[in-house]
């Protein structure tokens, strides 16, 4: 369980990196927030989820509103990508996403908005707290881990910070209080 101070630092750091942080009580509430975020946007590409969550999401969004397969073909249409996160890191406001599934990569990179569900219990204080877990995850090939801190950004033109180059313009972290997350 992560101490409240750690959660507080995570929220503050993530917001400092221009991520939006929403506190949610349950997976159900998280799905409701995704549905709200979807208003006025293209369908939700969901990847990295178990059948149960996908079914619940499909109930909320309708078949039109949810893309589960062949994300690449829908590259231009996807409005929101929705993925789970494995860990959060408070010192940098980072979410760590197991992205070995190529659809998780596409869902988190192609759309303008990426929403990620992170259980509070998965937030660690420092990056080095993840050392062993990362070592284990990366030993298991093929492995592809993404650490994401805020939205895509550049300062390549006159050092002016500009959001949303190749990846999402918005990163929404749905921080779920209480116990375990969804599958």
């Amino acid at each position: 369980m992560s101490a409240p101070a750690v959660i507080g630092e995570f929220v503050q750091r993530a917001r400092a990196a221009s991520a939006e942080v929403h506190r949610v009580e349950s997976v159900e509430e998280a799905l409701a927030r995704v549905a709200e975020l979807r208003v006025g946007r293209g369908p939700v590409a969901a990847a990295g989820w178990g059948e149960e969550t996908l079914a619940a999401l499909s109930d909320r969004l309708g078949t039109e509103g949810l893309i589960r397969h062949r994300l690449r073909q829908h590259a231009d249409a996807i409005g929101i990508g929705f993925t789970p996160a494995s860990w959060g890191v408070a010192e940098t406001g980072t979410v760590v996403i197991d992205s070995a599934d190529i659809n998780v990569r596409l869902a988190s990179m192609l759309p303008e908005l990426h929403a990620v569900l992170l259980p509070e219990s998965r937030v660690v204080a420092r990056m080095t707290d993840l050392c062993r877990a990362l070592g284990a995850a990366l030993s298991d090939a093929p492995g592809y881990l993404a650490m994401i801190t805020g939205p895509s950004r550049t300062a390549d033109v006159e050092r002016v910070l500009t959001i949303g180059v190749h990846g999402p313009r918005e990163l929404h972290i749905l921080l779920q209080s209480g116990g375990g997350g969804a599958t």
Binding site: A141, T149, V165, H166
Partner: protein, 702 residues
């Protein structure tokens, strides 16, 4: 174009100067915050140096381990002995994949081997996807900074390029609009590319993992959308384990731009199902560098660009004039290792020796020293006369006395160089040699005080004056005697002392520097002392940092040299030790005419002084100026070799001081005094430049 003309052109580029200067200032603040202060930086740097050092000490073993794990994870590993081999390997991977389009995320190693032209000649459409690199690709230019490749371009130039590329007018002030356009163009490239090429920021031997840092997210798309991923990396990028990689991850973005972390960090072990991952491991001269004792440390570099960010010369002339592909201080060394050696040797002379890069390097590389090594290797024959004079005190002092006798009469304003001297050198007035050097003045019993040590004096110090104080500014030495009178300190001036040896070392004349070190250690140790006090920060730094090493092989002097080095102290620090700054009220009462005083912190002074107490003790008000610790541009022979840059550094510094409202500028080094006083005089600036010793001595009644 000659190198000097390139420099002139860069100095005349107003935009470049403005943008680099703004970056230097904001970088310093954000890095400070990202590392949570100097202590945080130093701890991080110690870890990086340890991780990189350990990896390099068993490089072959870790490379083999990495290869084994990579292959076990399903990647194909290609070893390239040379840049040409690496280019050809990558071209043939693309051929086998029947590729037409290749997308790339930013890779300095790909720049190093000039990969793009080779792939283009092979008929491939190569698209850089990092925004800065894409812009440079359109302009056919090399990056001017390791992590901000297009920092030298203005929004106007970039907008012009977008307008030309799309046929649609782009407003220079709508940077977001340009970024949207780039997103659309490059998205299509990602979706239609057959091969993605990346570099790697590190490679983890334990797991066979590649680590990639980007802010834009192009690294993730390049490794996701095309079916084939080629990663090109130098063998030195390998680290033992994830823990080591995390230490690099902690330091890299913080050092690069002052960010705590880049938006994306991607860790890749092996290809996914139905995909190919090719790892191209480049030697390209790295094993040769690893065996080169004098240069091997450069392999510790993590390519953060911090050395450029803190370099005063980079701030003025940008990356294109400081290196070939790799730029900035480390670029001066890497260009020699991997590119045109002759050019690298010329460019490597453009190091002022201020040590800012050494202090700012998160991998603890002694860059100024490596740069000097490069310069000397290419131009071995320089500096023999300097070496001869520095190595022999008798001859040096004869030469100085002769010069003093034939020079023009001192008009009190310093020497304005005659018009026959090229204009670039006339930016400052040069001081004249004193007709009576310090050593003569001290020999007069009335001036030096009692030569017999009075009873009850607790502290004995030796004054090491250095050439500038001895022969040019003896009044600074006299000020020291005046100040220490009545403090219970007995000062001695051993006559066997000469030049500290730094100018010879700067010219690559190691033996001459050693001879000077030997003579000075003998002179200093001819009398007992508690402290060796210096008035010149550069002499102090040279004695402290180099004497132990220069005399390490001299059984009679090695221990003495270490003791001397450990006892060297600058005047201001000595005075703080003596508690001279504590009687502020008394000092203020004596000199009610307190004036606003700014301080210039000499590059070679360690630790940097907090000058406030002493300036108050002298009865004045201290004004902190923004670039107090930025180099004054002197750098000894540097100012004669690169007068344009030297004068620009001095001029900017002085303008800042005058703007602050200060009437006096005080420093702790006669070299800085020479540079700043001479430039202020030549420009007619209303500013007096003094050594701290002189300022303080004024406050102590005669």
């Amino acid at each position: 174009m000659s190198y000097r003309r390139e420099l002139r052109q860069a100095l005349d580029d107003r935009f470049l100067g403005r943008v680099l200067s703004a970056f230097a200032t904001s970088y310093r603040e954000s890095r400070e915050a990202a590392f949570a202060g100097e202590a945080g930086f130093e701890a991080a740097a110690r870890r990086v140096a340890a991780v990189r050092g350990a990896a390099l000490s068993r490089l072959e073993e870790l490379v083999e381990r990495f290869v084994e794990r990579c292959e076990a994870a399903g990647a194909r590993v290609h070893r390239a002995a040379s840049a040409a081999e690496a280019r050809e390997i990558i071209a043939s991977i693309a051929r086998e994949a029947k590729a037409r389009r290749v997308v790339k995320s930013k890779s300095m190693t790909a720049e190093e081997i000039h990969l793009n032209p080779h792939l283009e000649r092979a008929g491939l459409d190569v698209v850089e996807t990092d925004l800065g690199e894409w812009i440079l690709q359109q302009r056919r230019e090399a990056p001017s900074h390791m992590v901000m490749p297009a920092i030298h371009l203005s929004r106007r130039q970039v907008a012009g390029l977008f307008t030309e590329h799309t046929g649609r007018v782009h407003d220079p002030d709508d940077i977001e609009g340009m970024v949207r356009t780039a997103r659309a163009i490059l998205r299509q490239a990602f979706l239609t590319a057959d091969v993605g090429i990346t570099g790697a920021n590190f490679a983890v031997a334990e797991t066979g993992t590649l680590g990639l840092l980007t802010n834009e997210g192009n690294g993730r798309l390049v490794t996701t959308l095309p079916r084939v991923h080629v990663a090109l990396l130098g063998i030195e990028k390998v680290v033992a384990d994830v823990g080591g990689a995390l230490d690099l991850l902690h330091a890299l973005p913080r050092s690069a731009t002052g960010q705590t972390l880049t938006s994306y960090v991607t860790w890749i072990t092996g290809p996914g199902p139905g995909r190919e991952l090719h790892v191209v491991l480049l030697d390209g001269g790295r094993r040769r560098v690893a065996r080169d004792e004098e240069l091997a440390d450069v392999l510790r570099c993590i390519r953060c660009g911090a050395c450029a960010n803190v370099c005063p010369v980079f701030r003025l002339v940008g990356g294109h004039r400081l290196g070939e592909v790799y730029v900035g201080p480390v670029g001066l060394v890497l260009s020699y290792c991997y590119h045109d050696r002759a050019r690298a040797g010329v460019v490597a002379r453009n190091c002022i020796g201020c040590l800012a890069c050494k202090r700012g390097c998160p991998a603890g590389i002694d860059l100024p020293r490596l740069i000097k090594t490069v310069a000397h290797r290419v131009q071995r024959r320089r500096g023999r006369l300097v070496g001869r004079l520095v190595g022999s005190r008798v001859w040096l002092h004869r030469a100085l006395r002769l010069a003093a006798a034939v020079q023009p009469l001192d008009q009190g304003q310093g020497l304005e160089l005659p018009a026959v001297v090229p204009a670039a050198h006339r930016f400052r007035r040069l001081p004249l040699l004193s007709s009576r050097p310090l050593r003569e003045r001290l020999a007069e019993p009335a001036r030096a005080g009692p030569r017999v040590e009075p009873r009850g004096q607790r502290r004995r110090v030796v004054l090491f004056a250095g050439c500038l104080v001895d022969f040019v500014f003896p009044e600074q030495g006299e000020a020291l005697y005046h100040l220490l009178r009545g403090t219970g300190t007995h000062v001695q001036f051993p006559e066997g002392q000469g030049c500290c040896g730094l100018p010879a070392a700067m010219m690559g004349q190691q033996e001459a520097a050693r001879r000077a070190a030997r003579a000075n250690v003998d002179a200093i140790c001819s009398t007992p002392w508690h402290r060796v006090v210096v008035l010149c920060a550069s002499c102090g730094s040279f004695i402290r940092e180099r004497y132990p090493e220069l005399l390490a092989g001299d059984p009679a002097r090695a221990a003495l040299a270490r003791r001397v080095a450990a006892s060297v102290v600058d005047l201001s620090t000595l005075l703080l030790e003596l508690g001279l700054d504590t009687n502020q009220d008394q000092a203020r009462a004596q000199t009610p005419q307190g004036r606003p005083v700014a301080y210039h912190s000499p590059c070679h002074m360690r630790p940097r002084l907090a000058p406030e107490g002493l300036i108050h003790a002298a009865g004045h008000t201290y004004l902190r100026t923004a670039d107090e610790d930025l180099c004054c541009g002197f750098g000894g022979s540097y100012s004669f070799e690169f007068p344009e840059i030297s004068s620009e550094l001095a001029g900017r510094k002085l303008e800042g001081v005058v703007e602050s409202g200060a009437e006096l500028l005080v420093t702790d080094c006669p070299g800085c005094v020479l540079q700043l006083r001479g430039t202020a005089a030549a420009r007619g600036m209303p500013l007096r430049v003094l050594h701290m010793a002189e300022l303080l001595a004024c406050a102590v009644p005669r």
